[in-house]
């Protein structure tokens, strides 16, 4: 199989998966009894005009397959319903405001996860069975065994109440006006526009939420990298490198590390899935105005349009992540696309 047909096959699968998720949210919407509840929430009765609009638009008095068709068409047109917990604002609009913030947290968390995971993974392998290795192991075990909301809480207590170092809530200091959207990510936009006050403030706000997430996920990277390094260091090409007279540090970092990173790439999509799921809790604790905070508010207010729409958006993000990871992997490792 060549690369083109592999890519096509993966794209097709991704589309198929998105359709599966759509079907799932459709079934969930109907399992609530009247799907009107799912799209408008339990306050639907207060807005009879919206109800009749929905019945007409989504053919709710027609058979299921007709409803399904109009449901999918509606979603493709960007109609995710109206959010009762936010004064019946269109959900797509709320997603537009909150998604960039979630992406910011996730991107920073990915960077922190990789930095922590790789540095500690190498250190643990280098000092194999020494106290440093044991210490690192205890650290990552504690990290990935803790629920994200607990790690976030501990960080909040330590940094905010004891050290008074970083801001507790929001995505930037109150009173600062957000930059014009270029990439839609406020941190990047403020930098591009030279609004350094906003940039600095939003950077300070993003650190704790993303650090909390990174602390729960870096252990996956550290553990895989450590054991891969230990495996790789026994292989023939490492012996050759040593025989050439290279010093141990060079052998370790240049030859060992590069090859040990392959399994880390393989699990990267798993790490991203964990991180994205974690944003739900972490944003909530740091009052970070992202999609995670919105979904929790929606959940508490029984705002089903919000919950279902956010589920869908998270799933699509995961599908894209998996797709990118698979394609990158295929690009790096010919065995995948040939096998």
């Amino acid at each position: 199989m060549n690369l083109v047909s592999y890519v096509l096959r993966r794209l097709l699968l991704a589309l198929f998966v998105v359709l599966g998720v759509l079907t799932f949210t459709f079934i969930l919407a109907h399992s609530l009894g009247n799907p009107i509840h799912a799209w408008l929430g339990k306050a639907a009765a207060l807005h009879p005009e919206l109800v009749s609009l929905y019945v007409a638009k989504y053919h709710l008095n027609d058979p299921f397959y007709v409803q399904y068709y109009y449901y999918v068409v509606g979603l493709l047109g960007g109609n995710l319903g109206y959010s009762p917990s936010r004064g019946f604002e269109p959900v797509i609009q709320i997603i537009g405001q909150t998604l960039p913030n979630t992406l910011q947290v996730a991107i920073f968390a990915i960077v922190l996860t990789l930095v922590l995971g790789i540095v500690l993974g190498i250190a643990a392998a280098f000092y194999h069975k020494k106290p440093i290795d044991v210490g690192i192991r205890a650290f990552y075990l504690a990290g990935y065994s803790s629920p994200p909301f607990f790690v976030a809480l501990v960080l909040l207590i330590v940094f905010v109440y004891f050290l008074h170092l970083l801001p507790t809530s929001g995505s930037a200091a109150a009173g600062l006006s957000p930059p014009r959207p270029i990439t839609t990510l406020p941190i990047v936009d403020s930098l591009l526009e030279g609004d350094y006050t906003y940039f600095w403030s939003s950077l300070q706000h993003v650190i704790l939420p993303s650090l909390a997430l990174a602390l729960t996920t870096f252990g996956i990277v550290t553990r895989i990298l450590r054991s891969a390094m230990l495996d790789v260091m026994h292989s023939n090409f490492i012996m050759t490198a040593r025989a050439k007279g290279l010093d141990e540090r060079t052998v370790f970092l240049k030859h060992g590390f590069r090859n040990a990173m392959i399994p880390v790439v393989t699990i990267s999509s798993l790490v991203v899935t964990w991180l994205l799921t974690g944003t739900v809790f972490v944003e909530n604790i740091f009052s970070y105005p992202g999609m995670g905070q919105y979904v929790v508010q929606a959940l508490l207010a029984q705002d089903y349009p919000g919950v279902l729409a956010v589920t869908l958006i998270y799933a699509i993000m995961i599908v894209i992540t998996n797709l990118v990871a698979d394609l990158l992997y295929a690009a790096f490792d010919p065995q995948v696309r040939l096998g």
């Binding site: 909301f149 809480l153 207590i157 279902l308 589920t311």
Partner: protein
């Protein structure tokens, strides 16, 4: 092919060897992990059982009634009278944490057992038969894999409404596919072994071969995976509980306690830390035990 390496004896002998490696003291370091992790798990399981049985018999094991208000002052700091302090309405936090132990442990074991039972049957059948059923199963698991399971569980639990049973149900719906995928992969490894083929040739039906020859040989791998997975289920459960999808107040649940006590971070920061730390401790136990088991049994 050498009958010795691949015959019906091989699996049995291998399993005996594995048991020996567990008890023989060959791998002392690994045994230490099993002991520490196993100790933590045993502590939680026994505590959960004691609490559950005593609750059924209406015997109070906790120092105070976990749902009774005013057994102490409001927001008292940890002391000998109240080991973990008291909450806003003067309930004893230590008693509440103990009373909630059966929830987490029960959900962990029930979700994992059902996911394993469903996954094992579906996965081994698909792997063994191949063809169309296999194709359908793999596409379905692909879909489930692409969905962040916790987020899907949140959506399902939101649709079903709060409650322990609903939460268990929501987790089960999203949890079995990874077991099906693992069981299928492991089945493919053994499906063409001589002992399976000879069982087939001797006239046993598909079901019989799967039950008698395939499942016993892939069970160990599944158990190791399940042990490691128990911790993940407990994290997911505590997340749902944190979001208010588990028990209804005044009953106590770990995640839900963290969410409630988070409001008193300034006046009583220890309150939210205790239930959170208990969750982490339990999960660490399962992680260490699973790691130890994996090393000791040499299953990847």
């Amino acid at each position: 092919m050498n009958q010795d390496d691949n015959g019906p004896q091989a699996g049995r002998r291998k399993r005996r060897g594995l048991l020996q490696s567990l008890t023989g003291g060959v791998r002392i370091r690994r045994n230490k992990e099993l002991v520490i992790g196993g100790g933590v798990i045993a502590f939680f399981v026994i505590l959960a059982l004691v609490v559950e049985v005593c609750t059924l018999l209406h015997i109070q094991v906790t120092p105070y009634n976990p749902i009774k208000e005013g057994v102490g002052p409001s927001l008292a700091a940890p002391s000998l009278a109240h080991l973990m302090g008291t909450d806003l309405v003067g309930r004893d936090v230590f008693s509440r944490i103990i009373a909630a132990t059966p929830n987490g442990i029960a959900i962990g074991f029930v979700v994992v057992s059902i996911a394993m039972a469903v996954g094992l049957s579906v996965g081994s059948l698909a792997g063994f038969r191949g063809g169309f059923p296999d194709e359908v199963l793999m596409r379905v698991t692909d879909i489930f894999f692409a969905i962040p399971s916790l987020i899907m569980a949140i959506a399902i639990a939101a649709a079903l409404g709060p409650g322990l049973v609903n939460m268990m149900f929501a987790l089960m719906i999203v949890w079995w596919p990874s077991y099906a995928r693992l069981a299928r992969g492991e089945t493919l490894k053994v499906a063409h072994q001589n002992y399976v083929e000879s069982a087939r040739m001797s006239g046993q039906g598909v079901g019989g071969v799967i039950v008698k020859h395939v499942i016993p040989n892939i069970f160990l791998t599944m158990i190791v995976y399940a042990t490691l997975d128990l911790g993940t289920v407990i994290i997911a459960y505590s997340g749902l509980s944190y979001l208010g999808l588990s028990v209804t107040p005044p009953a106590a649940d770990w995640g839900q306690m963290v969410a409630t006590y988070e409001n008193y971070l300034i006046s009583a920061p220890w309150l939210a830390v205790f239930p959170g730390a208990v969750i982490a401790l339990g999960v660490i136990g399962f992680s260490i035990f699973g790691d130890g088991l994996r090393d000791a049994l040499e299953v990847s």
